[in-house]
């Protein structure tokens, strides 16, 4: 099996392309009748789908993974756990799932990048969805402790009422033509 395209993409950190590359490669290899399941980088494949927020495809991939692989490769389980948390919208759980596993060097790059991307996405969601929110909840959403979360928000223009521990969101102005 020729993983050079996949490895190049990982090396160049173009993580958003991982899913498509893995999808076409797995179909190709499969049509050649090769028994690939033991060597297939399922963890990276799952993380590829997770990175582009295609949790549907991650779920279907998970269903296809043979039981033997699920039982022998903890990194595959750990990668799926992130997907599960995203699927059930356990916003805080996603951060925990990322942190609690000791990722292999191949997976670390994409996991770290996803973690930053996810935090950014969640922050944008908070900006659009909340006018005021407690520091406690902000901390859960961002996967930081309360004071780090408050600082993160303050750096981006939010204001903090120390007495009530409430953050006031700074809304973004929509850009038009």
């Amino acid at each position: 099996m020729d993983f050079s395209a996949l490895n190049d993409t990982l090396a160049s950190k173009s993580y958003s392309q991982i899913a498509d590359i893995c999808d076409s490669l797995i179909l190709q290899v499969s049509s050649q009748g090769v028994a690939f399941q033991d060597e297939w980088p399922y963890a990276i494949h799952l993380l590829g789908h997770i990175y582009i927020n295609d949790i549907n495809s991650a779920r279907f991939l998970w269903k296809r993974i043979p039981l033997a692989v699920k039982e022998s490769q903890p990194e595959v389980l750990a990668a799926w756990k992130i997907g599960q948390k995203l699927w059930t919208r356990d916003y805080a759980g996603v951060h925990e799932a990322i942190r609690e596993f000791n990722w292999s060097p191949e997976a670390q790059g994409i996991v770290t990048s996803f973690s930053e991307l996810y935090t950014k996405r969640i922050f944008e969601l908070l900006v659009s969805a909340y006018s005021t929110i407690s520091t406690h909840d902000t901390a859960l959403f961002l996967g930081l402790n309360a004071s780090d979360a408050a600082n993160y928000a303050l750096e981006r223009g939010w204001t903090l009422d120390h007495a009530s521990k409430m953050l006031t969101v700074k809304k973004q102005v929509r850009s038009a033509l």
């Binding site: 049509s31 549907n56 969805a129 929509r174």
Partner: protein, 424 residues
């Protein structure tokens, strides 16, 4: 075997140019009987041919080989050689003998199913249908087979790629029914409910002289997707639906229509108990997953309905009205709806309130202009197609005959503004 040897020589010799290949085609057609009688001994010939240069000849021999009965051990080998052929073959040569190619691919699919490894067939079948098509608007008989393999192999995203093509030409109605039905299921899997609704609608309203099972199953899913995506379902069919469908489809979908009634009460507890009572029926139709999605969509609908009455509402009130357990649960529901773009609102945790907002879309951005522009382009293409079809139809003898016959039944005034007889 002499004739077989000359056959190979001719294939090798006449695969150079288009005119040579056409000549070869005529020769190959004359050898039909030979192919049938020697089918079990033809396989070794394939090693002397190059699938990309001698595609037509290779195809004829391969078709003969694959139509002979084979054992399970040979199945795996056949599958491999067909996959390789599909990959390497030249599309122009294949299109000269589409029936043969289709036969090979159908056999290929049957063997894949026997081997119980549908994923093996996904990539080859996609390549095959693209080579068979002379344009992306043509629906081939391989389309539904490809979609079926995608469904079985759980490669939904791959299946989605062909569903983006606009289909204008259909050969066999059955292919169209299956394509839309399987396509609808793929879209449901990828949560593209709008497209799923469109495809299922096509199955339900397609011309039918006799009721078919595909339409029945599609109607059930159509009802469920309509509830999930639109929050409602209309039992009246559009005018262009066949009378067969209009008269009969509802009879096979009673529990689903009752589900609609239950849904329309807006009461989650009623809906849940109805689903519980009819669990087995939905399960045996393999629709239980969809039904559960209908139930969870009810919360969304109820919250959306609130935006029509209130400008602000407390999380506690939302929880109470929508039958959620706590203000926190209500907050999470609202947050998820904001994330999915199903509602415009901001949550104020300090006061425990939600403020409902107007859609901030001002239709002034570049992306919006591009979207409108591409929609206009698509409409223009469609409009031109309709004009062409209209012109073709107005020259069609069957149509003209019917119009001619019906003229007598029209009222005097209908086609003549100047009456030819005055009564004073």
């Amino acid at each position: 075997m002499n004739s077989v040897a000359t056959l190979v020589a001719q294939i090798q010799g006449l695969s150079g140019s288009t005119s040579d290949v056409n000549q070869l085609h005529t020769i190959l057609k004359q050898f039909e009987d030979l192919f049938k009688s020697e089918s079990t001994r033809l396989a070794p010939l394939l090693t002397e041919l190059n699938p990309s240069i001698h595609s037509l000849g290779y195809l004829y021999i391969l078709e003969a080989c694959s139509s002979a009965p084979i054992s399970k051990e040979q199945a795996s080998e056949l599958v491999l050689s067909v996959a390789r052929f599909i990959d390497l073959s030249a599309a122009e040569q294949i299109r000269l003998a589409p029936d043969k190619f289709i036969s090979v691919c159908k056999r290929f699919k049957d063997q894949i199913m026997l081997l119980e490894d549908p994923m093996r067939g996904v990539a080859p079948m996609l390549t095959a249908l693209r080579k068979l098509q002379y344009s992306s608007v043509q629906l081939t008989t391989l389309h539904p087979d490809f979609l079926l393999l995608c469904l079985l192999a759980k490669c939904y995203k791959t299946g989605l790629s062909i569903l983006e093509d606009d289909i204008f030409e259909v050969d066999q109605p059955r292919d169209f029914f299956l394509y839309c039905y399987y396509g609808g299921m793929i879209c449901i899997g990828q949560k593209k409910f709008s497209k799923a609704l469109e495809l299922l609608h096509n199955v339900v309203t397609a011309p039918m002289s006799v009721l078919n099972a595909i339409a029945i199953e599609a109607y059930k899913k159509y009802i469920l997707v309509s509830l999930i995506h639109l929050g409602q379902f209309s039992i009246s069919f559009p005018k262009y639906t066949s009378s067969v469908a209009q008269r009969n489809l509802k009879n096979f979908s009673q529990p689903y229509l009752e589900l609609v009634n239950s849904y329309c009460t807006g009461k989650i507890s009623e809906l849940e108990s109805f689903v519980q009572a009819n669990n087995e029926k939905f399960e045996s139709d393999k629709n239980l997953g969809l039904v559960k999605q209908v139930v969870s969509s009810m919360y969304k609908r109820n919250i959306q309905r609130l935006t029509q009455t209130y400008l602000t509402l407390s999380l506690q009130d939302i929880a109470h009205t929508v039958q959620l357990n706590s203000a926190k649960e209500a907050e999470m529901h609202v947050l998820q709806m904001i994330q999915d773009g199903e509602i415009y609102a901001t949550i104020n945790q300090k006061d425990g309130m939600v403020r409902f907002l107007e859609d901030p879309e001002q239709y002034k951005t570049c992306e919006m202009i591009e979207r409108i522009d591409s929609s206009i382009q698509r409409m223009m293409v469609l409009s031109r197609k309709l004009t062409d079809m209209g012109e073709q139809l107005s020259c069609d003898p069957l149509y003209l005959g019917k119009v001619g016959r019906e003229r007598q039944r029209f009222d005097f005034d209908d086609f003549d503004t100047v009456p030819s007889k005055f009564t004073i």
